[in-house]
């Protein structure tokens, strides 16, 4: 609020400077921003520091009464908590006079702190605004500091994003390392049995016995399941997505394109849970009915249902990305081909498609990494039993679905079962990271070619 007023204040000042005499060194708005920043930032910093240190200081002051009376730290803490509770009126125990007095003192201190906080912050605002105002009056530079400030804000934002990523990776790494201390890497990567439920039955008082898990955390079935379902999904998504992308880019008239493109993109906006129950409640049983009619044994939760619906989910990605790459193939190539007497489909097949291929491959890889990372559809439609199978009519499970299974319900940290989830997350992270890097590389290479 104060910031806004000082913005207008600063701008007005700038106008008056402008009208009285010389040229300004920056646009009037910059003077406004300058003043607003000076108004808000120092005050905000002081306020936050205050908020952080106030409780500690208050605690110290109150407990100083009890110092040298032979209390232990724990007891002191207890007294402090009691004091706080009493002053909030939430204390239920017996009120001793000791606590009574210290609670009064607490309230007292709090109110002093409160008012002095307001006073100090206001003083700081006034002081810094006055300082900034003086600098404006002497027509100092304002553009550079303001630009620097925005630069710093944006930098902090991106730093936060990067640090979060790094933090996530580290938490994954440490848990994963712990996991591999119990379960050998070899068993994890090459084992063919995945029954994390077995780890449930362990009595937590027992000592960890690694041999007990030797046949529990073999990740082959779920890796296989993951890639298998992703494969089915891509079998659906690539042809349909590509063809609709080509249609949109090359054949559709402006009008059709105007409506069809947003419609296809709506598909991308549907939450995956919705796809999930579409797969589990509509597609799954439907496949089962067809299968039984043909005399095949189909489980209601099948890899085919999950993969198929996942493919539908990925169609808009592939279609809209490949539409973009195809439209960005220069018109001059099309003209060249038409002028040679090529028909439209020949031109697409022989000139446009090869020219757009790297971009298309990039979009497909992005689609694959989405398929591998997809969770909800698999959990709902393909079941949770990690069968090692290549029969699309049976149920299989994926990395993501297994992480859900493991982490649903109460968790004990440091338990191999929980850590297995981290190990899975780590492998997933590595796989999708590689895919994304490759995809971005390919797309970038394609860009360079035409720029």
């Amino acid at each position: 609020m104060l910031g806004f007023t000082s913005y207008y204040f600063g701008r007005k000042k700038a106008y008056t400077i402008q009208s009285t005499n010389k040229r300004l060194t920056a646009l009037p708005q910059f003077y406004g921003y300058y003043l607003a920043i000076w108004c808000a930032i120092p005050a905000f910093i002081i306020y936050s520091l205050w908020a952080i240190f106030e409780p500690t200081i208050v605690k110290l002051l109150i407990l100083s009464d009890y110092a040298n009376q032979g209390y232990l730290d724990d007891e002191l803490n207890l007294i402090y908590e009691k004091t706080k509770a009493l002053s909030r009126g939430q204390f239920t125990g017996e009120v001793t006079s000791l606590i009574q007095t210290s609670s009064e003192k607490y309230l007292n201190l709090r109110s002093i702190a409160q008012s002095s906080k307001v006073v100090i912050v206001l003083c700081i605002i006034i002081a810094s605004v006055a300082y900034a105002y003086k600098r404006i009056s002497s027509n100092n530079r304002t553009r550079e500091p303001v630009e620097k400030f925005f630069n710093a804000v944006l930098f902090t934002a991106s730093l936060a994003a990067i640090l979060t990523t790094v933090g996530i990776v580290f938490s994954l790494i440490f848990q994963t390392i712990d996991f591999f201390k119990v379960i050998p890497l070899f068993d994890f990567v090459f084992g063919t049995h995945w029954y994390p439920a077995k780890a449930f039955v362990r009595d937590s008082s027992e000592a960890l016995d690694p041999t007990m898990y030797s046949d529990t955390f073999g990740a082959v079935p779920i890796f296989a399941g993951t890639f298998f379902i992703a494969f089915i999904a891509m079998c659906v998504a690539i042809p349909i997505g590509l063809m609709s992308g080509i249609y949109l880019a090359e054949y559709a008239s402006y009008k059709v394109r105007q409506y069809a493109k947003p419609l296809i993109e709506i598909l991308a906006g549907i939450p995956t849970v919705v796809y999930g129950f579409f797969a589990a409640l509509t597609v799954g049983p439907f496949l089962k009915d067809i299968g039984t009619a043909m005399g095949l044994e189909v489980s209601a939760e099948s890899a085919l249902a999950a993969g198929g619906v996942m493919g539908i989910m990925i169609i808009p990605f592939i279609s809209s990305l490949s539409d973009d790459v195809i439209t960005s193939v220069p018109q001059s190539l099309r003209d060249g081909s038409y002028a040679m007497g090529a028909t439209k489909s020949e031109t697409i097949k022989k000139v446009i498609f090869p020219a757009a291929l790297p971009g298309i491959v990039g979009s497909i890889l992005l689609g694959v990494s989405r398929a591998i990372g997809e969770t909800m559809i698999v959990v709902m439609a393909s079941g949770l039993a990690a069968n090692l199978t290549l029969n699309p009519l049976e149920s299989t499970s994926t990395i993501t679905a297994q992480i859900v299974v493991i982490l649903i319900g109460d968790q004990a940290f440091g338990d191999p079962k929980t850590q297995a989830a981290f190990a899975l997350g780590m492998s997933l992270f590595i796989v999708t990271l590689c895919l994304n890097i490759v995809a971005l590389r390919v797309v970038k290479k394609y860009r360079e070619k035409y720029e």
């Binding site: 008239s253 402006y254 220069p330 001059s332 190539l333 099309r334 003209d335 060249g336 081909s337 038409y338 002028a339 040679m340 007497g341 090529a342 028909t343 020949e346 022989k350 000139v351 090869p354 020219a355 070619k449």
Partner: protein, 251 residues
């Protein structure tokens, strides 16, 4: 002998008329230059001759364009055959992002002109030779065409155009992206090509028009103001607008 004859050609882009009642005869085995200020409709006219305006949705062509006694604006005209007979070279070199060999063999493959690999090799070689590019690229036929220099790329595009042995070659400012040396090479090439092909070239360079062409047409604001032998147009034009344009007083 008259190769192409345009009669009462009007062209519209949507509601906007770009060409007004053009009547122009093109002589066989000669170079015809089309000149005129920017936006006067030279490219539009050129694109009428191989129906490239079909590619633009909003473009509508009216009137008759007769090539070999056949009106190409007729319903029954086979555009694929037409474009086989009438090649085109564009302002900016536009080789396909394929190898040199594939660039040249593109047209012959589409039109089924080679029965064997050997025949195709021959077509590629003769086309490149005619385009005066063979010596420079014969060792790198299987490298991408986009890796050539601008002038080489343009000659590659010319080679691509002549690979299907067209009767007519349309060139839309083929030298505008090239340096004087490459331009001179292309001009020499045009002179050579006119023995076997009829050539129509759009250019902004008066000197180029005077150098390479036997006949010239001057366009202005969508109308064909004057046309005739290049000598006459440049030395003794009938129309004052032509005179002004050629002497550089406007445009």
């Amino acid at each position: 002998m008259i190769k192409i004859s345009a009669k009462n050609v009007d062209v519209f882009y949507g509601k906007k008329q770009a060409l007004f009642n053009i009547n122009l005869d093109i002589e066989e085995n000669q170079v015809t230059a089309l000149i005129g200020p920017s936006g006067c409709g030279k490219s539009t006219f050129l694109r009428c001759l191989n129906r490239m305006n079909d590619v633009i949705d909003i473009c509508k062509v009216q009137g008759e364009i007769v090539i070999n006694d056949f009106n190409i604006n007729d319903k029954g005209c086979d555009v694929v055959r037409l474009r086989e007979k009438i090649g085109m070279v564009f302002q900016k070199p536009n080789p396909f992002p394929k190898t040199l060999y594939e660039n040249i063999s593109y047209g012959p493959t589409i039109h089924g002109m080679a029965q064997s690999k050997q025949e195709m090799d021959e077509i590629v070689e003769t086309s490149l030779k005619k385009a005066a590019l063979w010596e420079e690229v014969k060792d790198r036929l299987h490298e991408p065409g986009t890796g050539l220099s601008g002038g080489q790329q343009q000659r590659l595009c010319i080679a691509r155009a002549i690979s299907v042995q067209p009767e007519v070659i349309l060139m839309d400012e083929p030298c505008s992206a090239l340096d004087p040396i490459a331009t001179a090479q292309i001009e020499e090439l045009i002179d050579e090509l006119k023995k076997e092909h009829t050539i129509i070239i759009v250019t902004h360079s008066m000197a180029q028009a005077a150098r390479v062409s036997q006949r010239t047409g001057f366009f202005h604001l969508g109308e064909l103001i004057e046309h005739g032998s290049t000598d006459k147009i440049f030395k003794n034009p009938d129309n004052t607008k032509t005179q002004d344009y050629i002497t550089g007083r406007f445009g």
